[in-house]
Symmetry: C2
Subunit: 412 residues, 2 copies
């Protein structure tokens, strides 16, 4: 059985490395007499690379080689990844991808082609890097109705928030550190604005609920506005601020999905997920809370997830793995303002005593928070649960307050 | 497709409940036009039970009904579970079991029959209840060489230790509470002496290393001797005491496996696994640390794992799932005294100052621990790493000390 890799960056070269390093056991597990890497497609040159002889620049060589049954796509980006992957599937090759942008934008189309051609399109590595999550969700928890899923799905933002929490450093400083360490890209937008986490929760939600959820439909907030004052209030409330990606079933037929920084209580298993680690909390009707924890990114963890998918493709050449989802329309996802939540609010008030009375009059029961050395006139509190629209409307009517920060409380 | 359940206790009735409750989605996922429970085998009567009509007392009815393709074994115990399961497999039926005693004692034999008959013998529920672990280990982490695994695998002992740690109650008191709550059996031996955790680590080790590891080969200590003094010293050391089941590859060809209470540092993900929850930490060469967390027991979590296996059997009627292990001999597991560890030691000394000097002379670098209101003459310390044999030999030579408690430090 022959394999090809498209895209020889960090992850693609990791796949080649894992295939070489654990070659014997991987071949055995794939139940093939031999499992061999035949081509590596990349537009760049890699002189002196141990795999130099396998390098090609023409995609058609892979497409037209009938001996290549499994193709690994680690190019990233939408184009030409989409064209290449769909061409491979149409040619009867199974494809394994780590490309969350591709799966989140085109998963329904690609899964449909795979089904028509009776081949596999697998993407365990697209969410949670080396953490097994796609397969456990689709197989091990198959007897459950999963009603909620909460994830810390982006290592870069979790590293930044952890440093802010543990070392009291501000966002800009930590972002610079993360860039210097290689934990953040030069252009960190996709991470810090929540887009990366959004793509991943879309993939998980699509898988669980059987309908393709597009990133555009999911309300997404990044962590750029998180202030050390919020970090401190969260601590005194009994929790931490994490970038939480959440998807919940609503009334059995609709979906609530939001990505945003949120307060997580210290009693939650997600509160102790630090640094670049990721974790996913799944709530099923039979199984209760299940948490998956591990490295959400990195060369070898991601490569190991890809190679596990390759092994699975080799073992099921005549059978499509069951999982997939249908296309659907935007109505499937509800307006996030219509969902119930409680909010953490930090604000400025010229007359704090009057403001507290007004807050209690407007919001009813609230939990007032304090912090050491708070500037005069700063007020922070956590509301009771109501629809987010109702809570924000109430806040708008409180002219005595100038809101500085509003964050959700994650119920995980 | 017809299913039968053998054993209508807590777990077996949970399987019937999950099959009924999520019937529509389970049937869909099983890719069968219908998935129906046909028989429930139990020697007891269940008058008024919703499934009363399915109850049978004669095993041969299941064995001889060719329409029953999948049999769920939730009887527990070795006999007649072994005879029934092997007969079903030989008759070409797939079997799903939650019976860790059976899998740990007879897994190699049953897997061999399953392979010969090209049917499936699956047992996701035998370890970690509702936590997906068997399938992720055999599939998702297949590209890894797994070199270490640490588990909190028994909910009863974890509940007891959590109460001792958080509420300062002694072992006997908490055991009584656990029995009153139904978290511990009337005869709690299998739990508190570590036998249950031992069976589970045997199953995980067999799966990972491909060779059957029998419970008899694994050095096992329970938690009955854990004193509140040890709990306090562990806290001051920066950790907690957990019943840890551990398996490690040694020199690429042998296995170290031990079940015992051990000190776990607060920085470990396993340190925050409280109450009846279980967790399994897997260290792979590519993926790094991965943790699986959830309810390790209970009716519905366990039932959900069983039903997921049933779904898998239905989807792979013509194909044996790849996993299994070979028989092997006792030499595979090394003497635990030959492995490296560091030890926590609590002891009594008539002349503490002299004793500290002697300890340092004998053990070299040690970390001395203290606690509030320690009785006069009590000494506690943590050694550096050496073989357990060397450390215990040194302790034996220290006649100035009367050892009260010796615990391993878990490096997880």
């Amino acid at each position: 059985m022959y394999v090809a890799i498209m895209g020889y960056g960090v992850v693609g070269s990791g796949v080649a490395e894992v295939l070489a390093k654990n070659h014997h056991s991987i071949t055995k597990k794939s139940m093939q007499s031999e499992l061999e890497l035949k081509y590596i497609l990349d537009i760049r040159d890699f002189p002196g690379d141990p795999n130099e002889k396998l390098m090609i620049k023409d995609f058609n060589i892979i497409l037209n080689d009938d001996d290549v049954k499994v193709v690994v796509e680690t190019m990233g980006g939408l184009h030409p990844a989409f064209e290449f992957v769909s061409a491979c599937l149409k040619a009867g090759k199974s494809v394994v991808s780590s490309n969350k942008e591709l799966v989140a934008a085109k998963g329904d189309e690609l899964l449909k082609i795979a089904e028509e051609k009776n081949v596999n399109f697998l993407f365990e590595a697209s969410v949670g890097g080396g953490i097994p999550i796609i397969r456990p969700l689709s197989q091990c928890l198959a007897a459950n109705e999963i009603y909620e899923i909460y994830g810390i799905l982006n290592g870069t933002t979790n590293f930044i928030l952890t440093k802010m929490i543990n070392e009291g450093l501000d966002f800009a400083t930590v972002l610079r550190m993360a860039q210097e360490n290689g934990y953040a890209e030069k252009d960190p937008t996709a991470d810090i604005e929540g887009h990366d986490a959004c793509r991943k929760i879309c993939i998980l939600a699509s898988l669980i609920y059987g309908k393709h959820v597009y990133p555009d439909w999911v309300h997404t907030e990044g962590i750029t506005k998180i202030d050390l004052a919020d970090v401190e209030y969260a601590k005194n409330w009994g929790g931490v601020i994490k970038l939480i990606a959440c998807a919940k079933e609503v009334d059995g037929e609709k979906l609530y999905a939001v990505v945003s920084p949120a307060l997580v209580a210290n009693t939650s298993q997600l509160s102790s997920v630090d640094d670049v680690f990721n974790a996913i909390l799944v709530k099923g009707d039979a199984t209760g809370d299940v948490v998956f924890y591990g490295r959400g990114a990195g060369k070898l963890p991601t490569a190991s997830a890809i190679v596990a998918d390759v092994i699975d493709c080799c073992r099921h050449t005549k059978e499509k793995k069951f999982f997939g989802w249908e296309s659907c329309n935007e109505n499937f996802v509800i307006d996030y303002l219509d969902a119930e939540t409680s909010l953490y609010i930090r604000a400025k008030a010229e007359h704090p005593e009057d403001a507290v009375a007004e807050i209690q009059k407007t919001f009813g029961n609230v939990t007032l928070l304090s912090r050491k050395d708070a500037p005069a006139g700063e007020i922070a509190f956590v509301t009771d649960t109501d629809t987010e629209r109702a809570l924000r409307t109430k806040l708008d009517t409180l002219h005595i307050l100038e809101p500085l920060s509003v964050l959700r409380i994650a119920n995980c």
